[in-house]
C-alpha cells in the first residue's frame, strides 16, 4: 500500500492502480473479505469448504500414532506394535483412513462364519490425488482362540459376497503364537497395489474384500460348528470372540469399536509439496525399536528419523536417562544433532 501516484508513473501503464493505494491505513477486514480469505486458504489446502464433522467422531488410533511418530512424539505412541510405514510414506504427502461400510442386513443373514465380506467407500479421494499404495488393517485379538493348529487367511477382491469373479489378493498363515502380540491385539496389515486402488477410484469408488479363514493342515472338512467356533467373532452373542475383529459386538460402544474395526489406509500424493518423509536421508534398512509410552517398544522400520533417534535413545539410555527426560529434553532431536546445535 506504499505505492502512490508517483509509483504508478513508472509503471508505464501496465496495470491500473490498485484500490489499496488509496487507503493509507489498514482497517480490519469485513466479514465478507474474511470469508473470502478463508475460502482461498481452504482451497489451497485442497478443501472445497470448511469441514463440519459431527462431534465425538472417533479418530483411528493408527492415524493418531502415525501423526505422533511423525512429530517425533514417540512417548505418546500408544500401540506397542506400531510400525512406521516408511515404505508407503516415502512418496506420499497424504494419508487417508476409511472405515468399512456396516450393513446390518448382511450381518444378520450371514450363516457361514468362515467368510466375511467387507467394503470401503473411497469415492471421497479427490481425482487429482494419485494413490500410491494402501493397506487393509485387521485387528487380531489376543482374546480370540484360534483353535488347534494354524489357520490360513485368504483375502479376495470381491464386489459382493456372492461375486463369481473373486480374485485372490493374498493368503497368509495365522499361527497360534500368543506371545507374538499384545493383549490389546495385533494388527495384520495387507498391502494393496496402487493399480488396484486407481482402478477402483476411477470406477465405482467402492472397494470390497472377502475374507476367508480355514484351518491349515486338515484334510477332512470340519463339521460346521467346529469351523464356526474357530472363525470370526459371532456378533449374535458377543462372547464368541474369534480371530479377526471384523464385526461389532452386541452393545459395543462407538469408541471401542472404532479402535478395533477394519481400517483401510491410503497413501497418496496431490502433486503439491513434499512427501511426509524427506528424501536424501540415510536409511538403515533394518527394523529399529525405541521405547514408547509405558515402556512399550515402537518399531521404526526403514525410517531414517527413527534410525537416528533410536541410536540417540540407545546412547541416552546408557547414560541413565528415562524416556520422559530424553523426550522432553531433546524434543525428539537426536543426541548428536543436539550436541552440534549446542556447540
Amino acid at each position: 500500500g506504499r505505492q502512490g501516484e508517483d509509483t504508478s508513473e513508472i509503471d508505464h501503464g501496465r496495470g491500473p492502480p490498485t484500490s489499496s493505494s488509496s487507503t493509507p491505513t489498514p482497517s480490519p477486514p469485513d466479514s465478507n473479505l474474511s470469508q473470502t480469505i478463508q475460502t482461498l486458504l481452504l482451497s489451497r489446502l485442497g478443501l472445497q469448504s470448511q469441514p463440519n464433522p459431527q462431534s465425538g467422531v472417533p479418530v483411528p488410533q493408527y492415524l493418531l500414532d502415525l501423526y505422533r511418530f511423525h512429530q517425533k512424539q514417540y512417548h505418546l505412541v500408544e500401540d506397542p506394535s506400531f510400525s512406521f510405514p516408511s515404505q508407503h510414506i516415502q512418496q506420499a504427502n497424504t494419508v487417508r483412513s476409511f472405515h468399512h461400510s456396516e450393513s446390518r442386513e448382511d450381518s444378520h443373514t450371514e450363516k457361514d462364519h468362515t467368510r466375511v465380506h467387507i467394503s470401503f467407500d473411497i469415492s471421497s479421494i479427490p481425482q487429482e490425488e494419485r494413490v500410491l499404495s494402501a493397506e487393509l488393517r485387521l485387528l487380531r485379538s489376543d482374546r480370540a482362540s484360534l483353535g488347534p493348529g494354524p489357520h490360513r487367511l485368504n483375502l479376495y477382491l470381491s464386489k459382493h459376497r456372492e461375486d463369481p469373479e473373486q480374485a485372490l489378493l493374498e493368503t497368509r498363515l495365522l499361527t497360534n503364537n500368543l506371545h507374538s502380540y499384545k493383549p490389546s491385539g495385533f494388527w495384520e496389515a495387507f498391502t494393496l497395489s496402487a493399480e488396484l486402488l486407481q482402478k477402483i477410484q476411477e470406477s465405482s469408488g467402492s472397494l470390497g474384500f472377502l475374507l476367508e479363514i480355514k484351518p491349515e493342515n486338515i484334510t477332512n472338512p470340519l463339521p460346521y460348528q467346529m469351523l464356526a467356533s474357530a472363525s470370526y467373532e459371532d456378533k449374535t452373542d458377543g462372547q464368541n470372540e474369534r480371530h479377526l475383529r471384523v464385526c461389532r459386538s452386541v452393545g459395543q460402544d462407538d469408541h471401542s469399536w472404532a479402535r478395533e474395526r477394519p481400517l483401510l489406509v491410503t497413501y497418496s500424493h496431490d502433486g503439491r509439496g513434499e512427501p511426509l518423509i524427506k528424501h536424501g536421508r540415510k536409511t538403515s534398512g533394518k527394523s529399529q525399536r525405541i521405547r514408547g509410552k509405558k515402556g512399550s517398544k515402537v518399531r521404526a522400520r526403514n525410517s531414517s528419523k527413527g534410525h537416528d533417534t533410536a541410536k540417540a535413545w540407545g546412547r541416552a539410555k546408557k547414560k541413565g536417562y528415562s524416556v520422559q527426560d530424553w523426550a522432553t529434553n531433546t524434543g525428539g532431536v537426536s543426541w548428536s544433532e543436539r550436541g552440534r546445535v549446542k556447540r
Binding site: 506504499r2 505505492q3 508517483d6 509509483t7 508513473e9 513508472i10 478463508q38 489446502l45 485442497g46 478443501l47 472445497q48 469448504s49 470448511q50 469441514p51 463440519n52 464433522p53 459431527q54 467422531v57 479418530v59 483411528p60 492415524l63 493418531l64 502415525l66 501423526y67 511423525h70 512429530q71 504427502n93 497424504t94 494419508v95 487417508r96 483412513s97 476409511f98 472405515h99 471421497s124 503439491r272 509439496g273 513434499e274 512427501p275 511426509l276
Partner: protein, 115 residues
C-alpha cells in the same frame, strides 16, 4: 558514541527479519475439524530492506539493484521483506465425510526472511 550505538541498534531492529507469530486454530474455530496440532508457530517477515544489505538478509541481486535505484529516485520503492525459506507442517484433520486425514502442507512456516 553511546548515542551512535543506540541509533545503530534501533536501525538494526527495524531491518528485515523473522518475527514470532503463533497461529491458534481455536481462534478461528478450526479446532472442530483440525485434530492436531491445536496451533503452530508460523512466523512472519517484517522490516526494512535499506542499504547496506547485510549477508544475513538474503538479498537478491535484484534487491541490490532496486535499492541502488531507490537511492537516486525515491519514487522507486525499496525491496520488500519476504519469506525466502518456508517449511511444511503435517495436519491431522477430519474431512467433510468425517474421515480422518493426515496431510503434509507445504510452505506453512517461515524459516527465513530476505529482501
Amino acid at each position: 558514541n553511546g548515542g551512535h550505538s543506540a541509533k545503530l541498534r534501533r536501525l538494526s531492529r527495524g531491518r528485515c527479519r523473522r518475527h514470532p507469530l503463533h497461529v491458534d486454530f481455536r481462534d478461528v474455530g478450526w479446532q472442530k475439524w483440525i485434530i492436531a496440532p491445536s496451533g503452530y508457530d508460523a512466523f512472519f517477515c517484517l522490516g526494512e530492506c535499506r542499504y547496506p544489505l547485510a549477508d544475513h538478509m538474503n538479498a537478491s541481486s535484484h534487491a541490490v539493484v532496486q535499492t541502488m535505484v531507490n537511492s537516486v529516485n525515491g519514487a522507486v520503492p525499496r525491496p520488500c521483506c519476504v519469506p525466502t525459506s518456508l517449511s511444511p507442517i503435517a495436519l491431522l484433520y477430519m474431512d467433510s465425510q468425517d474421515r480422518v486425514v493426515l496431510k503434509n502442507y507445504q510452505d506453512m512456516v517461515v524459516e527465513g526472511c530476505g529482501c
